[in-house]
Symmetry: C4
Subunit: 241 residues, 4 copies
């Protein structure tokens, strides 16, 4: 994959940033669509994101098959990525996580996660919740273990950027890798703020027009956060002298 060198480096950074920003822990994963092949994507082997290096990045096709797996263990849930890339040509990157402030919203369907401030514009009028029981019954381990479940999740996501997964976490997309990471970080922060605001009283949410305008504005500001997050992650994850 010589042509993918730059994107691999950025994908490794994305792994580290998502850990450092508290979106992923030992679990969760982030992928990017191959820059030169729309039907391929790049994703780490089964490894904690904070530990990922360039050597851990594997190329996949849209059936979730590893092109260059070399026998390495793969994420069980790679079908989250493959099926969203298949269903959504506009998507350039996918983050799956157990984002800690988001999980509670995934199990309380009466309280949609929605845009409460401008940096949560991506949440719009409320995120869909994927209920795996609706498609696979009430005895699964909740994981997206195959293409059929991945496709069902992608349908639940629809044209949105964030889908919650009941009792599990969420999946967040973006047109670029940096945008997907940005959306994932601010989905987590927004969930904290909304929980807190709900306890204070009745919330004035963003109007759909405000959320859309804020989302467009945020898209132009992503690099400023990326520079900061990259620097912080390097400092906190690099081995000490």
């Amino acid at each position: 994959m010589p042509e993918a060198t730059g994107v691999i480096g950025e994908l490794v950074e994305a792994n580290h940033i998502l850990f450092d920003q508290g979106v992923v822990d030992g679990f969760g994963h982030v992928s990017v669509r191959h820059p030169h092949a729309e039907d391929r994507f790049l994703l780490a082997r089964s490894v904690a994101p904070a530990m990922a290096t360039a050597d851990d990045i594997v190329e996949f096709d849209l059936d979730g098959n590893a092109i260059d797996g070399h026998g390495r263990t793969l994420y069980l849930e790679r079908f989250i990525h493959s099926e969203i890339y298949r269903a959504r040509p506009d998507v350039g990157a996918v983050v799956h996580s157990h984002s800690p402030a988001v999980v509670p919203f995934s199990v309380v369907s009466a309280r949609p996660l929605r845009a409460v401030w401008h940096l949560g514009g991506v949440l719009g009028e409320g995120c869909p919740i994927f209920e795996i029981r609706s498609v696979a019954g009430a005895a699964t381990d909740l994981l997206i273990r195959n293409a059929a479940l991945g496709a069902a999740l992608a349908r639940s996501l629809g044209a949105e950027s964030v889908v919650l997964m009941r009792g599990h976490g969420c999946t967040v997309v973006g047109s670029t890798l940096r945008q997907a990471v940005f959306n994932a970080v601010y989905t987590e922060i927004s969930a904290v703020l909304q929980s807190e605001a709900m306890r204070l009283g009745t919330i004035t949410y963003l109007t759909p027009e405000e959320a859309a305008a804020a989302l467009a504005c945020n898209a132009a500001q992503i690099d400023r956060s990326w520079e900061l997050w990259r620097t912080r992650a390097r400092r906190r994850l690099q081995p000490q002298a």
Copy 2:
């Protein structure tokens, strides 16, 4: 700007402290009125505060025009600063942030943020909330993008030190740079404490006289916190050996 060297160094420190104390993240900004020109102020170019250096500081006039921008990208919301300096001759520094514990109070108008303890004396009997819809309709991206919006925000601030911005964050002022930073840090902490106390039961708030006396007392104690915060920020932001 040779005459402004000392203040530039302190402004860089203020940027780093506000990040280290959790008031700003990739976004937010802090300015100081020019020490030798009442109609000028100093503010970083568009950069994450934790990353700001002396070379990033730009001089502005009260119309929000950069004097020495040299083509650098500027904060979209510099009009927060310019219009508050215009309206409030007593203000020497301005902090704009998305202070995480404050945002929830900005979207629940029934629960004013007010002085619950002596270090929150600056909040007095309750902070005003700037509702951008009142002046620009319900389809903005919530940013203070021009002088008219800045002037409207300054009117909402009035003679107070803290104004909340609905679905966005807050703006905090002080007579000096250190005081503005102190006010911003303790506005964030006070919001945490008030949220928590509200959940316990009915709060005994400070009387207006207590808040005013505490505010006067705090003003004489700022350097003690500044020394601590500067040391902590240097330790945590400097590159590792």
Copy 3:
């Protein structure tokens, strides 16, 4: 104990990980059944887990007697470990802690801690709570100071993996050391998530079948977290250069 070298090294790591992940502070302890003697177990002398080294590990019999104590001070509550190993041949390791998000559930019996997400599968349909007053009256210091109290706690644990201890903390077991640590870490995280979700509204908990399936799935993923946690603990606990 030359034959136990490997397990001692891992037990020291477990001590450090449990501190670094916020499960234990100055108090709490973790033990492992002796790999070559079913009626023996390994546990540190009375020391804060973060400070434990291989030299601090002591071998005990199932009456809680130190085999090689050499006069060192022992944990008062070593009977938690001895009596659970006696009662539960399937248990290979035991963690006792004052896990901060779990303690509140220990004092509110109306709100069982149970599986709210897949990584909390170990909590099943709700954890038992050990009420020491039931066996020792209402004037104890709440500690498991002798074999009789340890046996009573083991009865309360029954065939489960987690037992809460009223006004005290919890005890978590696993078939291996890594699994016990994994269960302890995710019991703490799950308590945070359940508390938060309860405040949002009515929760859709995992079904018993979902919890069991998730638990089985998690068991195969433990090493991924262990590698991460070990790396983080080493970085944060090792002396600085």
Copy 4:
């Protein structure tokens, strides 16, 4: 003060530990009764506790006068210490702080802070709250600025170990320096746990007998925590290589 060298070193450690454990920030202070003079005590000059060194320690008499002040600025609230030492011969050390989880309990009188777990045994059946308005009216800055206010606070403390101060913080005592620090740290943690438990439902608190037994037990365990806290504080406060 050559005879006090050992205690001065430990007092400096206490300052650093209280910061590192989140009990104090730029404000708050800790004192110890002079080991060779019952009517004297040692307390830092006015400095952020994390920044204190042995050179900052000043000796005071029980009127709050500095014996060796050498013109250094003193804490305005040194009368908290002097009057408690005068009123309570059993007290060997005093911590005053704005302990963040305790402040909310200070402003909601309907919810006493009390022993919810064994490590909070020191809180007994509920802490008194000092209401400065009762003795000095409703227009003070809430500080204990003179001996009369210190004496009033000492009366409110009575024979207890913890007194909350409305809209301000708390003061915690111990028979030794290490015990006062231990009590202060676990008062903060206990407040977090009680707040959380209150939101879950009706709490089973410790009985008075349980609280007393737990308090006696904890007193014998303090050094284990102290060793840990000292090590952590040194690591996090020492200058980086």
